[in-house]
Every structure is written in structure tokens, then in C-alpha cells.
Symmetry: C2
Subunit: 201 residues, 2 copies
């Protein structure tokens, strides 16, 4: 068999593998979103994707690793926030970060997987570990890395706490009047707080 | 039978009933704390308390009503916050509320049931409804009621969002350095934010 023939035969297989991997990933995202981390099993994901459990383990490893891969795409827009902040002057970082954060939550396409991650992370230590590793380490460290102040990591986390608390009360627990309040009214009060945490005295 | 004899026979029954009710309440609090709202059943609570399910329904009604009764004692210290604020001048409300909130979370005896409530409320609409009704309506409305500013309910909720977000990142998700940071460093940064939400411009 020539090298060209091998490539010719190999390509469809690689494409098929990529298709199977993508199908497992979609099934996993849906299962974790609908059932949460605890109630989702590798067997259930395999069944939903129409493959054998062994294949799920082959491509993605453990359930925790499968969860990490499944939410990676879902949180990608959140992890992009520091890029969204590129070019932000020190004085408008708070507002840009606040608008970016609420924009991700206001969009149903990104809100649904985020809700699944929050629900899983609150109830399961393995899911919380993934949340810490991905969202917090990557997102917060990058934001904090751009600050030229003492305590910059703690500052970035307290800014995040104001935003995370807003998401909890507005989108998860749905407390009124915050849940229905006009976004501009919220941004007007929250953006200066985020700014203050990041660059204030 | 004389009235005195009736009272004599009635008293032990009333005491027994109070004991049974307390035993069911303790069992319910433990079941909800350990398993969360979804996985707890009235049957399981009855079994743990050594009584019939019908008796649980007789004393407490539905599972949602049982949950509300079970967490009432657990959140009582939180609901007492407005009393803890009695006598606070307008300028130190933020610091007193912040210290009070973290005090409740730093104490393992109150942190454990609070964690159970947060976990249940994040994952279950019935539990979220109880959370809204008890904690938010009672606590926030009373805090907001003491404010003489426009938008006082939204302001109280944004102050709560800063505190709730801190609790999520420090005690639930356990993000570093916030999870291990000295409480005084946190209070120094958070209290002015809470104060600003409540009474700032």
C-alpha cells in the first residue's frame, strides 16, 4: 500500500472519529445541562450519543474530564472577557467588564450552559474544581494580571463576587425587583463598584 | 370526667405531640442538609424520625412546607440581621451588615444549614421560592425599609449581591485567595461597597 493510499483510507476514518467525538461532546453538554453533574453518567452520555461507554472513556477519560471538555465550549465566551477588555482604559474597565458579564447572562444561548455549570459546581466538589480551574484561574488571573495595584488577585475576586452575586439573585434565584430591573439601572450602580474594586484606593 | 381530669390526661399528649413534631423537624433538617431538596422525601423524613409519613403531612403539610419549616430555624440568625442593625447610624450600616453576614457564614453551626439552603435553592424551583419568600422578602425588605433613598429595594439587593457573591466564592466554590483571606481584609473592602449601595449617591 502506498503512502497516498494510506492517507486516502485514513482521512475518512479521521473524519468519522472527529464526528463521533463531536457527537459525544454535544450529548455530554446536553446531559450535564439537563441533569446536573451528579445525575449524569458516562453510560447515559454514551447512550445519548449512540456509542459504547468505552469510546467515551477513550476520547475523554473520566466523568470529571468529560465535564471539563463539555463546559469548555460553554464558558468560552466568558473566558474571552479579557480580550473584550483589550484596549479598555483603566477608567472604563469596570463598565466594560460589567457590560460584558451581563451580556453573556442576558443571552439565552450562553445563559443555559452557565446555569448548568453553576448548579453543578454548587452541588458537587468535582464540578466545583472544574469551575475553579477554568473560570476562576483563567478569567480572574488574566484580569488581575492587568492590574497594577497591591492585592490585585483579591481585588479581582471581590469584583467578581459583586457580578456573581448579581447573577445568582437575578438569573438563578430570581429575586425582584433585581430580576426584572432594566439592565442600564443595574450597570449604572454595579460598574462603579467593579471599577472601585479593581483600581480604587 | 372532670375538666381537671381532662387537662391531666391532655397535657402529656400535648407534650408527646410537641416532642414528635420536634423530632420530625430535626430529621427533616438533617435530611435536607445531607441530601438536598430533590433527593429528600417525606417518606425518608418520616423513617428517620421513626413516625408514619401521614404524621409528617399532618404536622407540616407538603414537602415544600416541610422544607420551609426545616430551614426557618436555620435561617433565623440571618433574619435577625435587621435587629442586629438596630441603633446603627446611617454611616456604619454597611460595616455592621457586612460583619454580621460574614459572622453567620464563618460559624460552622450556621454555615452548614445555609449551604444546604443555597444548594437546594440553586437546583430546585420550590426551594428557590422558599428562599425568596423567607430570606429575601423578610430580610431585604426590612433593611430596605430603613433606607430613605430612591430605588431602595434595588439598592438593598445589590448590596446583598456583593455579600452573596462573596459567600459563593469563599464558602461554596472556595476560590483562592478569597477562601483563605483574612476576614478583616475582606471587610475593609466590602463594607464600603455595601454602605455605598445602601446610602451612596
Amino acid at each position: 500500500m502506498t503512502a497516498a493510499a494510506a492517507r486516502g483510507r485514513g482521512r475518512p476514518r479521521r473524519e468519522e472519529a472527529a464526528g463521533t467525538r463531536a457527537r459525544i461532546l454535544t450529548a455530554a453538554r446536553e446531559e450535564f445541562s439537563e441533569r446536573g453533574y451528579d445525575k449524569t453518567s458516562v453510560r447515559g452520555i454514551a447512550k445519548a450519543a449512540g456509542v459504547d461507554s468505552a469510546l467515551v472513556h477513550h476520547y475523554f477519560g473520566t466523568k470529571e474530564q468529560m465535564f471539563e471538555a463539555a463546559i469548555e465550549a460553554a464558558v468560552a465566551p466568558v473566558l474571552d472577557a479579557p480580550d473584550a477588555l483589550a484596549g479598555a482604559g483603566p477608567s472604563d474597565t469596570g463598565e466594560r467588564l460589567t457590560r460584558y458579564f451581563f451580556g453573556v447572562w442576558e443571552n439565552p444561548a450562553t445563559r443555559t450552559p452557565l446555569l448548568a455549570i453553576v448548579r453543578s459546581a454548587v452541588n458537587n466538589e468535582a464540578a466545583a474544581a472544574v469551575f475553579r480551574r477554568m473560570v476562576v484561574s483563567q478569567l480572574l488571573r488574566r484580569i488581575a494580571g492587568g492590574l497594577d495595584v497591591p492585592d490585585r488577585e483579591l481585588r479581582a475576586e471581590l469584583a467578581a463576587a459583586q457580578l456573581v452575586g448579581c447573577a445568582m439573585l437575578r438569573y438563578v434565584i430570581k429575586v425582584e425587583p433585581l430580576a426584572s430591573a432594566d439592565l442600564e439601572r443595574i450597570v449604572a450602580r454595579v460598574a462603579p463598584v467593579v471599577q472601585g474594586h479593581l483600581t480604587g484606593p
